[in-house]
Subunit: 220 residues, 4 copies
């Protein structure tokens, strides 16, 4: 079918144009989403903001949801990249250090377009792509779970599933809460310290509060 060398400038030009259109759409969507919220972000407005005809929008995205889902995926992808890289790095570090890093990276990840994050987080159920976000947590959960498994003897909690669920949810929730309601906390090192302490103390267990046999963990 192709009769000429694949370097055909024609096709490339065309592909580049497509890509530019899609990019413009995603960017415009993110902007409008932040500015107007999900409901008021009409596809016509988005197309206009992207400098693209409404027809083109629908050429690339079959529905408003699909468009927002793409923005979501892009955003989640960026967050995951940050988280993944960091967690791999501390896979073998001791608990306090690992916990600190988990908190730090969670905050870092939540700093990527925080307003967009907020809108997307609110609208997740509607976009019907909850899985994308769950994927982030699922991945974090898996990594944390594996980490705890490897250090079971340092852990003062019996049910590792529940423990990882609580640890991950907790850090995520604290970060989220801070982003949404106390943005100033994000830049205070104290905040990282405390959230990390929260996790460490919980996972470390304690004779008095332990859910199981008292563990004699001297350190961390």
């Amino acid at each position: 079918m192709v009769r000429r060398p694949a370097t055909s400038p024609r096709k490339n030009a065309s592909q580049e144009r497509s890509r530019a259109t899609v990019d413009a759409l995603l960017t415009a969507t993110a902007r409008i989403l932040v500015r107007d919220g999900y409901d008021r972000a009409s596809t016509n407005k988005i197309a206009e903001a992207a400098g693209v005809s409404i027809g083109s929008l629908y050429q690339y995205f079959p529905s408003k949801e699909a468009l927002v889902a793409a923005v979501l995926e892009r955003h989640v992808g960026a967050m995951m990249e940050v988280v993944r890289a960091s967690l791999a790095r501390v896979a073998t570090s001791p608990l306090p250090e690992a916990a600190r890093e988990l908190v730090r990276v969670m905050i870092e990840a939540h700093r990527i377009e925080p307003k967009l994050h907020r809108v997307l987080a609110e609208q997740l159920p509607r976009v019907g792509r909850m899985d994308h976000v769950e994927r982030v947590e699922a991945e974090a959960l898996t990594l944390v779970r594996a980490y705890l498994e490897a250090r079971r003897d340092e852990i003062g909690v019996d049910d590792l599933d529940l423990a990882s669920f609580l640890a991950v949810s907790c850090v995520e929730a604290m970060t989220h809460a801070a982003v949404l309601r106390r943005p100033e906390l994000l830049s205070e090192p104290r905040f990282v310290d405390e959230v990390a302490a929260l996790v460490v103390r919980y996972l470390g267990g304690d004779a008095a509060t332990s859910t199981a046999r008292p563990a004699m963990l001297g350190a961390e």
Copy 2:
């Protein structure tokens, strides 16, 4: 239209009728909200479900948002009542007991119309009445903050503001996460145990993980 001498029973009847109409509207709104979600819950549908004309709906509520806000207020009120009563009860109890109660009551509160809670939680930002919800947390925060203040010497955390924020947010978040993603956890006593432990260990502090000068607290 027909004018008769105003008698007090008449006025009462009228007032009662008003109240019944408002009640019917709030109840219908809650039902439709749960069944159809915020977007598809049209005011016409709500009025019909309430057995009230659309005109009357607008007599009592100036807008859809006002209507949903009223439902939200009612719901939040019910939750607050539960929380307030319980927290007053454990104001002087020792930390582990108080923490357990906090968790327990949070879960109990989230069991009030959980589906409605979910929809409202998702739509909060849109209703523009976040303050209602913040009020719940603000109240809990105040109570917890006072509690910690009173037992400062048992607490292994320096910054009581931050500590109460984290404690309250954390319990709220865990409960919320469980409601939304792991409903089965809500009925397992283990869950309460663990979340309570999380809070107690954090607030109790720990020499090794302390964020500040090591406190010499035997246990908590």
Copy 3:
């Protein structure tokens, strides 16, 4: 619920208003359908032509199809009334007279808004209400079939089902063809004569062309 005598002018006024709106819509639809055809008859255009808001249109008709279906039903109803009355009248008349009347009434029925009839006939499959029209033919078929049954010995065709199908379809088709392509024929008595003859000769049968055993029918 109703507290005042049913003569309430309020309700009547309201009902009349509704009825007027529906009527205006049906009439406008018919007009636009004739003028622009089905595809170009947009609901907005129809509403405008009816002097009614688009919202009102959708208050009464849930879709464009429903609107056209209502027009169709109204039209078919008018035709059926004409046909039914006439056929009842000749139920006991001899074949030639009955046939003539069938043809005459078919033409008369097709004279009711013939342009609308044409558009509707063309769009039937799309409106998904073919049944309405089939009902007309089904009714005619039943009547004709009963008629033939009653005069079986005058009929020179064996299969009465097939015979009635052909007779009815034929008259309908001739009328239809004339309406669509030779409107001038409709006013010529010759046309009625010929179509009636067509039917009479067919049903009367003939030794030479008979499909079955030669019937010894002198004439009819």
Copy 4:
């Protein structure tokens, strides 16, 4: 774009390619028309189904209507070929035989892509090419008219124009009705017999029902 000396084979190749493209387009159009109906048969879909770019489609056909008109013409052409050949064959046969053949060939013609036929028949007025179809009937009419003229003395009808119109319309209509509503009839020889009888009896005339000598029918 690449220019090479024009050689005849090249031109042929090009012409052949054009022809192949047009064929592919017509075939795809027919298929999509049958599958999706006229309205949902978008030019983009058709181009894709034909393996041709939308640009090329518009190179060969200036509009959607032109495309459908071409399909119609092709279809009508195929039908006409069948009809023409057959009618020429029976030009000198006696009436009963000729009538039978007319009916037979009409059915045969309607068996060519009946689903496409149906869609096209429904959409005719829209394509604005009714003349194509009228041409089929016009041709049949001419042939039948000539036939009747030649056998005037066997015909019991005065007005040959009207007679041929009725005969042709009738057969066409019966066939059409059968195709659309009673497909099972098409394969029953009885059906051909009856329709042929219908025509023969009509054209054969009859003393009692004759259109000529005044009949003593009351009137109506």
